[in-house]
Amino acid sequence: MRNPDAEPDADASPPTEAGRHATAPPESSDPASTPASPADASVPTTAPRPAVHRVGRGALLVELDDLTQVQALHHSLTADRPEAVDEIVPAARTVLISFDADRLAADRLITELRSRDLSPVPNREGTLVEIPVSYSGPDLGEVAELTGLSEQDVVRRHCGREYRVAFCGFAPGFGYLVGGDPLLTVPRRETPRVRVPGGSVAVADEFSAVYPRDSPGGWRLLGRTELALWQTDRPEPALLTPGDRVRFREVR
């Protein structure tokens, strides 16, 4: 579905030299070298960055500075997946990696993780998904009021940026989209709705999302799409997966 080996696009903003190597310690990834002590691994003050916490016997939690680094590590791990790794779960500040502890030593994986490049993922990389939206959601007026914009302006600004799926959660196929217009940052509703219809396009905090199916929810609803966000009978059940790029297009 995507080509992980694609060269970063020429006109993508280049990472700064400082950003490229600052977080990758000059540690040997040679398995014969002394492995990192597991005791050191979860003490962020003395351990090399990023901090890596153990999660039981079969998982590690990598703690990163921001979402950009989360996306970078997730991108790196999905493009070049270490053997015996079962799940890679990006979240707001962390990436959880579960693995088969019988086939891979945690220390070795920690060393490998610390050698990964954490510079920002080039803008043009990742599948682009366009989502047609009819902007007639029940909270459009309220979002306009909260932001001091006109309803048309809210719609224009919501369609005006390219988003990226940072991570999924809440429900199968529910992607947290980042990269939206900061002026559209609004808090969640004080009282969540008992039922938000599937296909609802919504905003909350710094995120945008599309509800994959009917569910409770407290985000502010701007509109609705006809696209199926989650369908288990197709090879890729989720329309939006972490790392994808997203654009909203207004339809009337």
């Binding site: 597991p38 979860s42 916490h53 153990r54 999660v55 039981g56 016997r57 079969g58 998982a59 939690l61 079962d86 799940e87 890679i88 779960v89 990006p90 979240a91 707001a92 500040r93 962390t94 990436v95 959880l96 579960s98 502890a101 945690a106 991570f167 999924c168 959660g169 809440f170 429900a171 199968p172 196929g173 529910f174 288990t232 059940p237 989720a238 997966t241 972490p242």
Partner: protein, 293 residues
């Protein structure tokens, strides 16, 4: 040449909760789909082996007995997990060994004396359509077949070539109070230093609000040292998450893939089957895992 008619079984009573389970659907956590699958996986595997199936075949997970099913064709079956009295058309049958059922016979499960989940495997496995590679019912995401109700008809798969090799499997009795080994972290440093000691020296009760998503525990609350909010992060089965109340929740097979409360420790994978057999009102104990990891 005639096509072999697909055998099936029909549910006459599901008991308090009966679902179809196999070894779950790994690999979709990044999309928000948890692994799910049998809560007591060794029991599912054993039940399958006893009827000559691959260990990954789908079977019925019966919660607190009470299940009644009728077979429409001669079928080899096996029961494992929480021990209970069982009968075929009123004739008592044993657990942990293959049993032959004739067409039209009804299997009925009584109530377990100890433990919570009993597995019924049938030769050929349950052949409902798989969703994302698994036939498991995930109660959190609503994936897989709905929980069984009276009248649910379950198709059985083609019989495997292998035949069972044992007639009775030795099984250790379930402990009265399981002791689960803990691996501290990833967020043990968010808690009062006393919290982990308290967790490892107190009895915790599995409350009525427990299910396949999580075991909600009652006991001494665990106090936090860091009070700021934790941005949601990935969660694993066996994680002991501590919400604001301080009362721990042990994440079970259908757990959410991310969570916003700190995890003080994670139960060793090998001890999770024992946790799956504790019924509401039962007790759990924890101790620190020793050795590597």
């Amino acid at each position: 040449m005639s096509v072999e008619r697909r055998a099936s079984m029909t549910v006459h009573a599901p008991g308090s909760l009966a679902t179809v389970q196999d070894l779950g659907r790994p690999g979709y956590a990044a999309l928000g789909v948890t692994r799910s699958g049998a809560a007591d996986r060794p029991a599912l595997r054993l039940a399958n082996r006893l009827v000559g199936n691959a260990e990954s075949c789908a079977a019925i997970e019966a919660t607190f007995g009470g299940l009644r099913v009728e077979f429409d064709a001669p079928t080899l079956l096996a029961l494992t997990g929480a021990p209970l009295p069982a009968a075929l058309n009123g004739r008592a049958i044993g657990m942990h060994g293959p049993v032959w059922a004739e067409a039209g016979e009804e299997l009925s499960l009584g109530l377990p004396a100890l433990g919570l989940r009993t597995y019924l495997a049938v030769r050929g496995g349950i052949a409902v359509p798989p969703i994302l590679g698994s036939r498991s019912t995930d109660l959190l995401s609503g994936l897989g077949p709905a929980p069984l109700v009276e009248g649910t008809r379950l198709p059985l798969g083609p019989r495997p070539e292998d035949w069972p090799v044992v007639s009775q499997a030795p099984v250790a009795p379930l402990p009265e109070i399981p002791v689960l080994r803990l691996h501290p972290g990833p967020r043990d440093d968010w808690f009062d230093p006393e919290a982990l000691r308290l967790l490892c020296t107190s009895d915790y009760e599995v409350t009525e609000q427990s299910n396949r998503v999580g075991l909600r525990l009652a006991g001494p609350p665990l106090r936090r040292r860091v009070s700021r909010e934790l941005p949601s992060e990935g969660m694993v089965r066996g994680a002991i998450q501590v919400p604001a109340s301080g009362l721990p929740v042990l994440f079970h097979v259908d757990h959410p893939v991310t969570g916003g409360y700190p995890v003080i420790a994670v139960v060793d994978e090998d001890d999770l089957p024992a946790a799956a057999q504790v019924r509401p009102g039962g007790l759990l104990r924890f101790r620190l895992a020793t050795g590597p990891g």
